[in-house]
Symmetry: C2
Subunit: 330 residues, 2 copies
């Protein structure tokens, strides 16, 4: 059916091995025959069968990306950047959505792992020992998850949060609420960083939650913010912040005049909201590049220079933050 290397060989009047060499290691064949082969391949529209190549080579030229939920607008830019980066290095990216469920994650890894040369696991929910075990069998890069002996890209919110605290402090805010949307996930670093940064700036911080990172969580949090007489809210992410904005409007609280709101992630939501959302940006291109490069390094047997790669963050001040109200209404 499809045009194989044998057909090209026959068309060019050489053996299959010569065709293979002409295409893969051109220096090893005579210039004239190489041209004949290339011309024949071109004319017949030959493209190598990746299954056969994989079988022989033991490599698939594909990378896997496992994410908790592609519906979270944080991930599409990540996927896009990773795909771009992978393509540039000759790899195809295979994404899989684990739907935030540990069982699905295991199943998906099983289905995908043999089809790729390595895996990027984003915020994996698997237990440590399983991850360690997996990482011994194949190249694995973790993002936002720490396991001894496994390579990792760590996105640090420290800088962005410090800037947010500075920003709110400068605007005269004193009482802030943090809406924790981390649910029951293992990683508690977000909450800790925020506590540290706000303490450092002498801002009083009220933590509520943990809840799930959903729009409704923000809706739920809005009246609590007013009840706590706070003038600023830092939400777990942009989606939660949108819920806060929505319900503050329903409650008649003006943003940013009465309450300032800060999100995290700088997703599409933040730039299209009204008013546009002040948020903490994590550069998707950077984390994607780091993760892909690290993984490809592992695939090629190059151990990482550092066990964990850090990626920073920064505040993007927009329309939902402003001077604190001197006389909170209630």
């Amino acid at each position: 059916m499809a045009v194989t290397i044998g057909a090209v060989a026959k068309a060019a009047g050489v053996s299959v091995s010569t065709v293979s060499r002409a295409l893969n290691t051109p220096d090893l064949v005579n210039a004239a025959t190489r041209q004949r082969v290339v011309a024949a391949a071109e004319r017949l529209g030959y493209t190598p069968n990746p299954a056969a190549r994989s079988l022989r080579e033991g490599r698939t030229e594909s990378l896997g990306l496992l994410i908790p939920d592609i519906t979270n607008p944080f991930f599409p830019p990540i996927f896009k950047a990773m795909q771009e980066r992978a393509k540039r290095q000759g790899y195809t990216l295979l994404v899989a959505d684990s739907d935030e469920r540990e069982a699905d994650e295991l199943e998906t890894i099983a289905a995908v792992s043999k089809k790729v040369d390595g895996l990027v696991l984003w915020a994996s929910m698997l237990p440590e020992d399983r991850l360690a075990e997996l990482a011994e069998r194949m190249p694995v890069v973790l993002v936002n998850r720490q396991v001894e002996g496994v390579s990792e890209v760590h996105v640090s919110l420290t800088d962005g949060i410090a800037q947010a605290a500075e920003h709110l402090k400068a605007y005269g805010h004193q009482r802030c609420v943090f809406v924790d949307g981390n649910g029951n996930r293992p990683d508690q670093s977000r909450s800790k960083s925020i506590r540290a940064a706000f303490d450092a700036h002498g801002l009083s911080l009220i933590e509520i939650g943990p809840y799930e990172p959903r729009f409704e969580t923000g809706v739920h949090a809005a009246p609590l913010v007013l009840a706590h007489q706070a003038t600023a809210v830092l939400a777990h992410n942009d989606l939660v912040a949108m819920g806060v904005l929505h319900q503050l409007a329903a409650l008649g609280a003006a943003v940013p005049n009465d309450i300032s709101v800060v999100g995290i992630d700088d997703t599409l939501l933040a730039s299209v909201s009204t008013p546009s959302l002040t948020t903490i940006r994590i550069d998707p291109d950077e984390v994607a590049s780091r993760a892909v490069d690290l993984l490809i390094g592992l695939v090629h047997g190059r151990p990482p220079a550092l066990p964990v790669v850090q990626v920073g963050s920064r505040l993007i001040p927009r329309g939902t933050t402003g001077p604190a109200r001197r006389d909170p209404r209630q």
Copy 2:
């Protein structure tokens, strides 16, 4: 390195062919040996090498999905639903983002086509003849693109648009603006359906554009809406609608009191905006299921019952539509 079928055969004391049969066609082997084989496979953690299987079988058990831009919030739910549907039937889904560029689309198809058994091409920008040619070489399902002789899933906005016209008419609107964000893409059906529906309801319709389907397009359109003395806007999609909302607020026009706004797609944006956006919903699960089932049918050599499968739409009335203002300010 990895555990092969040969290792299982040795462990179970049988030949490789028996192992293969015990796992794939259990009826053909003795119950006792089958159990030995299954036990051995389980114990060694055997999973078949998909490359070898593909090579032998000529099938990859994967499907490809090509979309213009995963960053468009319309697509993540589509992807998720397709992945789910494909998984249930034993297929892996390989997504690729063509970045709205025809050149990238070609390149991506070339990179992906040999790794999958069939392709879903969403709103392809390729010329007709290339698509027809591709569809002859492998199973192809088009979405929102029509080419003679190629299977297609067509999402029809007709119902949703009719409901929107009805909705606006009932609220007393008379002059409406449609913001065309179709750019230079071939498919003009959206614009035509809208013209037809609004004419049918006796609503005067002012079309502006075509522009690109971006937030900024909505920002650009907002003052035009006011200048045209319209009381309602139908935007090309939710993203454009968000731009309209944003800029109307900046211009001091209240939504929905002064102007009503309707989006299309019912993406996450619509449900989290303030006020929440009235929009036309296309059920992602339905179109995803239809496309995947159709494609798998083609892969298995089953020709489609109908050349084109229709998927409907409906209006989701929310907070951005209301009674028309009797005395437009300007």
